[in-house]
């Protein structure tokens, strides 16, 4: 037992260091401007939560609209990624479409640096008038998340007992019917894993957002980074804004932690 208290101690140190940036932001967001100006360790609680009010619009920042864009982009990406990769994974695993090489190509994409695509995407999206639109960023993020979704869905489909699908087949159900009313309802954990991971990763995108958005479709990542450069001294407001920006994926991920863990490990390591 003595040894196990040590484990608690070591894990706590790691947890504290990992959370330090977030704790720092929360700490500053709750201090008054006076306290912030007086030094890093001066504590005076801001009873009005004025930094949060400012961040949400009271001070005239566009933060609320960045927030809305991030939500639309992330939800849109989750839906489009699922819609594309779930049927494809079924086709690859159960109907033998393309065999393993399609998965290999998808994995090859995971290896290619995303930065290769920023210039072609910029040109393509300019031609399609998708620059600075939420739709454009949904497409770019779907591109980013497709590989992981394909890997997770294929390993989830492989785990389903084939007998059920066979029975449906014998009963005369077609492929689409089998997929929609038998496979889909059994895919709960796989859908949750793809949902939570795709949500986090599209919420996290910075590179494509910085290239493909200028004002209308700007998400919180680019918004918060610009905030630091343009309102450099309003530390309290920045802290509140960044704390709020971190929250949605964090809450979602904590609620769906089981699926996040399983999805990340099955996407990377088999078994």
């Amino acid at each position: 037992m003595k040894r196990n208290i040590w484990a608690t101690f070591i894990a706590s140190i790691f947890a504290f260091i990992f959370m330090l940036p977030l704790l720092g932001a929360i700490y500053n967001s709750l201090r008054t401007d006076n306290a912030i100006a007086s030094g890093p360790f001066v504590w005076e609680f801001d009873r009005d939560f004025s930094h949060y009010k400012n961040a949400m619009g009271a001070a005239g920042y566009d933060f609320a609209s960045f927030f809305q864009n991030s939500i639309l982009i992330s939800i849109g990406t989750v839906l489009l990624t699922t819609l594309i990769s779930l049927p494809a994974a079924y086709s690859i695993v159960r109907l033998g479409f393309g065999g393993a090489w399609l998965l290999r190509i998808a994995l090859g994409l995971r290896i290619l640096p995303a930065v290769f695509f920023i210039i072609p995407f910029y040109k393509l999206f300019t031609n399609l008038t998708l620059v600075d639109t939420v739709r454009g960023l949904i497409l770019a993020n779907t591109f980013v998340n497709l590989t992981l979704a394909l890997l997770i869905f294929s390993s989830a489909i492989k785990e389903l007992p084939y007998e059920i699908e066979e029975a449906a087949h014998v009963d005369g159900a077609g492929v689409f019917r089998t997929l929609s009313s038998i496979v889909f309802p059994l895919m709960g954990p796989g859908l949750a894993a793809v949902g939570v991971l795709t949500f986090i990763f599209s919420w996290s995108d910075y590179l494509f957002a910085v290239v493909l958005s200028s004002s209308e479709a700007t998400p919180v990542t680019v918004g918060a980074a610009n905030f630091v450069t343009s309102y450099g001294v309003r530390w309290g407001d920045i802290s509140a804004a960044v704390t709020l920006s971190v929250l949605p994926p964090l809450l979602f991920a904590i609620l769906a932690q089981k699926y996040l863990v399983k999805g990340l490990s099955s996407g990377a390591i088999k078994g």
Binding site: A11, F14, F41, I111, T221, V246, P249
Partner: protein, 288 residues
């Protein structure tokens, strides 16, 4: 026979959205990227003209490109080693029962859930010379160092990357540890093996393929480091922390030379392509 053909058609129909997406957002962009790299394509000039291999010649002779590549490779290797070791060590800590395990497990996973760019903004808050708690604490101890100084900046960036990504290495190593059957440990205990012997003679050899994948994934991902470094240093001081991603981004969207930036992108991919088959093999993908 008819049913077989019907099944083939359904297979194609189900995969069609993926194929369409790959064509429009992968194959076509790759073509566009290569074409741009062979053109004189400047933001300041309206006309785009063929340029043959001029851009490639320019990239291969650009000292900035090579120094960015060197920095990226060095950074990727150092963070992969550090995060791999720390992540594996933390996984060993979590591979036992201890008080508060569940809560601490959720807490150490938090960096995975936070966008690197937002993490970078928070780093700026805690590292700021006037309001940051880290410089504040360093001052209280009585040290006189600036963590953004040219001498320390590499270590600062490595440490910040480790705070963000050690959790990822930890999670994968921990998941792999759970797959080791308990009875191996039990029989080792019966044979009187010490803990260290168990780790080095049993755990590490069994986990080797999984750890290799963890390292490969971290290596691939740290090769594309952009957000955090760009927001923290913008590639500076000078170009000392310019990653290849920052070099390409700046060349295209700040200098305005799309042709040169595309040539750099293509060169980067050509350097990575020979590694691809062995990486893909590591994953042991199969459809059955």
């Amino acid at each position: 026979m008819i049913r077989q053909r019907k099944e083939k058609l359904s297979a194609l129909a189900l995969a069609a959205p993926l194929l369409l997406f790959l064509t429009v957002l992968v194959i076509w962009p790759v073509y566009l990227g290569v074409r741009t790299s062979l053109s004189r394509d400047l933001l300041s000039e309206f006309e785009i003209t063929p340029a043959g291999l001029d851009n490639y010649r320019a990239v291969l002779q650009a000292p900035d490109f090579w120094s960015a590549l060197r920095f990226t490779i060095l950074f990727a290797i150092v963070v992969t080693i550090i995060e791999g070791i720390l992540g594996f060590a933390l996984a060993l800590v979590f591979d036992r029962k201890f008080p508060g395990k569940k809560t601490l497990f959720s807490m150490v996973l938090i960096p995975i859930m936070i966008a690197p760019s937002l993490m970078a903004v928070m780093y700026r808050l805690i590292l700021n010379e006037n309001i940051g708690i880290i410089p504040g604490a360093i001052q209280k101890i009585g040290w006189d160092i600036s963590i953004f100084d040219q001498r320390y900046i590499f270590f600062t960036l490595v440490a910040l990357d480790a705070i963000q990504y050690t959790s990822f290495a930890f999670l994968l190593a921990y998941a792999a540890l759970q797959n080791i059957p308990q009875d191996i440990y039990e029989s080792a205990a019966i044979d009187g093996a010490r803990y260290r012997q168990v780790v080095f003679r049993i755990t590490i050899p069994i986990l080797r393929p999984a750890l290799a994948i963890v390292a490969l994934l971290r290596l691939i991902d740290s090769f594309r480091t952009f957000d955090t470094v760009y927001i923290l240093t913008g590639g500076g001081p000078g170009i000392s922390t310019q990653t290849i991603g920052i070099y390409i981004y700046k060349t295209a969207f700040i200098t305005g030379d799309f042709g040169l930036a595309s040539a750099a992108s293509v060169t980067l991919v050509l350097l990575l392509v020979p590694l691809m088959p062995s990486i893909i093999k590591q994953f042991r993908l199969d459809v059955k």
